[in-house]
Homo-oligomer: 354 residues x 2
């Protein structure tokens, strides 16, 4: 791999993870079989699944606290619907901080009354609303901890007594917060966990079984829990590769070490955005994401030359999302500081070229 | 790969597919990036997705006939629910030929009246019911073309004017039938298409939009069609590897060649089952599956020695499902005749050892 991969997702994985995943496709554990042609009921895969689930709970410091970890399919998009199917009885609150929150709200509305506790839509989601009131009668409050598209991140968790549900797709395992404040966490794997194709769901069992509707089996968290995340054939490859990434995080010293590294990377890039007169940040400074740095060229005519410089430096995936424009550097867990340095060098160098 | 892999699913893939999949994980198309770290919106992946969808329609001879091919997540288990969500208005008919049909019926019951047009449960699903009547008022008739667990297969398609929906998970692309008789076909990839983690859905567009309910976005075929199977992040690796398998089928001469090979393998194994006095077949002879051959030892005390002989011959995955017992040799498209020969040799040899 020679590219500096700033893609927003699917996104960079560690080289050692990629190598091991590639090897396992040829042969898993000297079994004479490829990872992708073994039964999901085989001893080898049952061990992989159990290890991945345990590692997720361990890294989030949620072992023995009433939580179960599942690796499901369908991404966060299916979770928008599953959370409401399983938890929404009368009314739920949603904090609207971007495109994904908006989609979550849309799906949940099919199942009950949705109260948008606050929204930052008025400023194209460039900040995170604070000081909103959470009705204590809500079935749950749903938040999106990091907004991939807009580059904002919730720094202070809401204080509430209602169950807290979070879409952590783009910042799970990137920073140490008190995960026991959440009752349900979900995250598509394709940013900080693994390849596209599986979704980590961590759910506190005692919030389930309280709604009065028939839940189809595939959408019922209780059934997936009862079957140890093997109710149906799981996405074997995506789970194996996720397990490898979780092992890498553990062996790197856990979330605290990862967070220290992420902070360093984020500081570096935001310092450059703020000190370089050719650029400006998109997100409100206090809400800036440590995962996705969104920024623009002040002078649009510099775009062509900057894009070419990026390309020549083997920088990949820095184009901003169409709803924001400009640039977005996704600096997920797996990205090395060296790649951030290269990007910053290019940003500095631009001054000499325009 | 040294094993003879008779696993029922996830199951054998071609060696050349496995090799190419492993290589693409290291680097895709000289892009400097791994297949599993590129954006699903990248030119490379959009091409892969489009190619896989086109190949599916082409191999099924369903091009330009009003069908769309999708690669979704959630396996056949999510399709049990999606078919009913999208198509069941008042009442639907289900042919109950095994465990998977039974599960499909259970999920569909949440959405309307289900009429079991016939069932072979009376004989532990060892045959396929025929001569049943299909109410012309049904919203659709659902069949399971091949029953992986019991080793039966529908040889003659039902004659009906109501839309025909089929779970073809375990025999898709294995034999040439008139696929245009179906209005919706779904198949988990992990038997004849690719690794676990994606589901091929082929749907005739004009049957959609006729039910009177709100369908959540992720469960709505129309939304997946509108977004070219990219409504949410697709399972990149599973789709790429499926594309490789579809290419292999095309390059092997298409379904007709594959079918000829499958018939040969099935004839070989059933001939041995019938001619070897130590074994007996499970499924009714006229309904025998060309994909999963189920059989038993007449004398259970021979099990230990036969199992050891299989193991010594590097035969893997021939244990029967717990609801049938005995043995099941899954002889999917990718399995070479040479592996079937090895199994038959062992079955013959058993006579000299007991």
């Amino acid at each position: 791999m020679s590219k500096h991969n700033f893609s927003a997702g699917p996104s960079i994985l560690r080289n050692e993870v990629i190598k091991s995943a590639s090897d396992a496709i040829i042969e898993l554990n000297n079994s004479g079989l490829s990872l992708i042609e073994i039964s999901h009921r085989s001893k080898d895969f049952v061990e992989i699944m159990n290890k991945a689930r345990l590692l997720a709970l361990e890294l989030l410091n949620l072992e023995n606290k009433g939580y179960k970890a599942l690796f499901l399919q369908g991404g966060a998009s299916l979770q928008f619907l599953m959370t409401a199917y399983n938890l929404l009885d009368k009314k739920a609150g949603y904090l609207n901080t971007g495109s994904w929150s908006t989609k979550a709200i849309k799906e949940a509305k099919l199942f009950g009354k949705i109260i948008e506790v606050a929204s930052s839509k008025d400023k194209n989601f460039n900040y995170v609303p604070k000081d909103y009131i959470v009705d204590p009668q809500l079935d749950y409050l749903h938040i999106t901890t990091n907004n991939t598209i807009f580059g904002t991140q919730i720094k202070k968790l809401p204080e509430t007594n209602v169950p807290l549900v979070a879409d952590m797709s783009s910042d799970i395992l990137s920073r140490n917060i008190d995960f026991s404040k959440f009752d349900l966490i979900y995250a598509g794997a394709q940013k900080n966990i693994g390849p596209a194709g599986t979704t980590l769901v961590v759910v506190k069992e005692d919030i389930l079984g309280k709604v009065n509707r028939n839940i189809p089996s595939m959408l019922d968290y209780r059934i997936h829990i009862e079957k140890d995340s093997m109710f149906n054939t799981p996405p074997v490859f995506a789970i194996y590769t996720s397990m490898l990434t979780l092992e890498w995080i553990k062996n790197s010293g856990g979330i605290n070490s990862i967070e220290a590294n992420n902070s360093k990377k984020a500081d570096m890039i935001y310092n450059e955005i703020d000190s370089n007169e050719l650029f400006e940040g998109f997100a409100a400074v206090e809400d800036r994401s440590s995962m996705n740095a969104t920024f623009n060229l002040k002078n649009a005519s510099h775009k062509e030359i900057f894009d070419k410089m990026c390309k020549d430096a083997d920088i990949s995936g820095v184009n901003g999302h169409r709803s924001v424009g400009g640039y977005r550097a996704s600096i997920y867990n797996a990205l090395d500081i060296s790649s951030v340095n290269i990007l910053i060098d290019i940003m500095k160098e631009l001054k000499n070229k325009v």
